[in-house]
Amino acid sequence: MTKVTYTDAQGQQHVLDVSAGTSIMAAAVTHGIDGIVGECGGNLMCATCHVYVDPRDADRLPEMSDDEEAMLEDAVAEHRPTSRLSCQLVMSDDLEEIHVEMPSEQL
């Protein structure tokens, strides 16, 4: 289990315990967290699950693929060095805790 803290654009926080093998996007969608859409269901087709990862957590995450980088360039919200697609952030038991910030718009 990884404790994931989602902070939305208004500063409101949601905390979920996410099991290993589940992505931050999938957990958000199945819990109805508004700031993540996940339109394509995790197929690297849409960039609607864009999040900003706390820089302290960045190096403990799966590496970014060229495909993810390409999708992020097309995200609606500002592209920052901490940008990731949360469908690619699959949790593992090594990761105890992580903080992500959600942009104000995904679509």
């Binding site: 197929n43 060229d66 999708m71």
Partner: protein, 410 residues
């Protein structure tokens, strides 16, 4: 407070409209009416991951609590039987009548039925719902051999899943190639070749004429040319038809889909239509178009949500599609139907190339196999309406990414 919005159809488009409206602050009632018992779910995995492993993906678009906390009323297993457009109310199968301020038809499509003998036999499937997908998975995994009628996206995705489960597969297709009309010839060749190498047997230019049964269960297909194809399971994937019954009943214009204008309004100013069922004026070509895709469902929902919140604008999103078969991930940007010229751009990697499609020299879009960055660049080129000629694509130095950037508006 007004009577609010009633959305008929609880698929991807209906869910997207309800959730987009709430996310953007719409405060009046929203009612989502769906004829399935399940809460809204995604359909793309039904013909992909769900056929391989039941537990592999969660297809729900939101948890049950989502609809409660966001004040969206979901009426499950309910059918709207009548629209009273004059009084702005719908009548449900259960006898209730619900008033609306605005009605949105997101009724989707249904698999086209084959009018041949034997389609009601056990072991004969079509694919649209979660239940269909489960039935096909179980049927396929317990079968020695299956036959698929139609080599479109659905038929080939089913074929790929069945081969991955070790089941023998024969695909019958009336045309001369796979995915006719939806992909270019070079791409169709590549996919057909891969399926053949995976052991799929193709029967082209032939049509299923009769399904043969024994004790109520399908055992074979008989084709027009007299061929008999033995099969324990038959999956029919010959396209879909838009669900327009309600629109017809309501007196709306219907022509291969519910006719809407460039803002997705029907011929009644209080009724919109979105998703698979909507026939809209093509923003990138002549005539009307009806698209069956997640992108179209979600982007049309967003367009209608904006209008209902007072921000009116035309629908002009760039269409995109995808299919996954084995490890081949094909992404298509643009409406490439009607192309008369193709240019293949190789990447040098196996199973990875693009096909740029033109009609009368005008760039329509491109197919990208196993290469997301190129696909995204093409989407940007189309969105910006950046001109792209066949000669530019033929240039060995051509890079869609650089082209999109160079021509990007400042």
């Amino acid at each position: 407070m007004t009577a609010g919005i009633i959305i008929v159809g609880a698929g991807q488009a209906g869910h997207a409209l309800a959730s987009t409206l709430r996310r953007r602050g719409y405060a009046d009632p929203i009612t989502l009416v769906g004829d399935e018992e399940a809460l809204p779910y995604q359909r793309p995995p039904l013909s992909k991951a769900c056929l391989i492993d039941d537990g592999a993906v969660s297809v729900a678009l939101g948890p049950a609590e989502y609809y409660e906390t966001h004040d969206v009323t979901v009426l499950r297993g309910k059918t709207v039987i009548r629209v009273n457009a004059g009084e702005q109310r719908v009548e449900l199968c259960s006898g209730e009548a619900l008033p609306y301020q605005h009605l949105v038809l997101a009724t989707g499509s249904v698999p086209r039925k084959l009018a041949i003998e034997g389609v009601d036999l056990d072991g004969v499937h079509m694919l649209r719902t979660l239940e269909h997908s489960s039935a096909i998975r179980e049927g396929t995994q317990n079968a020695d051999r299956i036959a698929v009628i139609g080599a479109g996206f659905i038929g080939l995705e089913v074929a790929a899943a069945a081969r991955q489960a070790g089941t023998a597969v024969t695909v019958v297709e009336a045309q001369t190639a796979v995915m006719p009309r939806v992909v270019s010839q070079p791409m169709a060749h590549h996919f057909a070749d891969r399926h053949s190498r995976e052991g799929v047997e193709f029967v082209f230019e032939d049509v299923a004429e009769r399904l043969v049964g024994e004790n109520g269960r399908v055992v074979a297909i008989e084709t027009r040319s007299g061929r008999r194809i033995d099969a324990d399971v038959v999956v029919i994937g010959v396209g879909v038809e838009p669900r327009c019954e309600l629109a017809v009943q309501a007196g709306l214009d219907v022509d291969n889909g519910v006719v809407v204008d460039h803002r997705l309004l029907t011929s009644d100013p209080h009724i919109s239509a979105i998703g698979d069922c909507a026939s809209f004026p093509s923003p990138w070509g002549a005539g009307r178009v009806r698209l069956e895709s997640v992108q179209n469902a979600v982007d049309q929902a967003a367009c209608v949500a904006s209008r209902l919140l007072g921000d009116d604008g035309p629908y002009e999103a760039v269409p995109w599609f995808w299919t996954d078969q084995y490890d081949l991930k094909l992404k298509i940007a643009g409406d490439i139907s009607g192309h008369d010229e193709t240019i293949v751009v190789e990447t040098g990697r196996p199973d990875s190339f693009s096909v740029y499609c033109f009609a009368d020299g005008v760039f329509l879009g491109a197919e990208s196999l196993n290469q997301v960055p190129e696909h995204m660049a093409v989407r940007r080129i189309l969105k910006q309406k950046t001109a792209l000629s066949a000669d530019q694509v033929r240039d060995p130095e051509f890079s869609p990414k650089a082209h999109a950037r160079a021509e990007a508006p400042a």
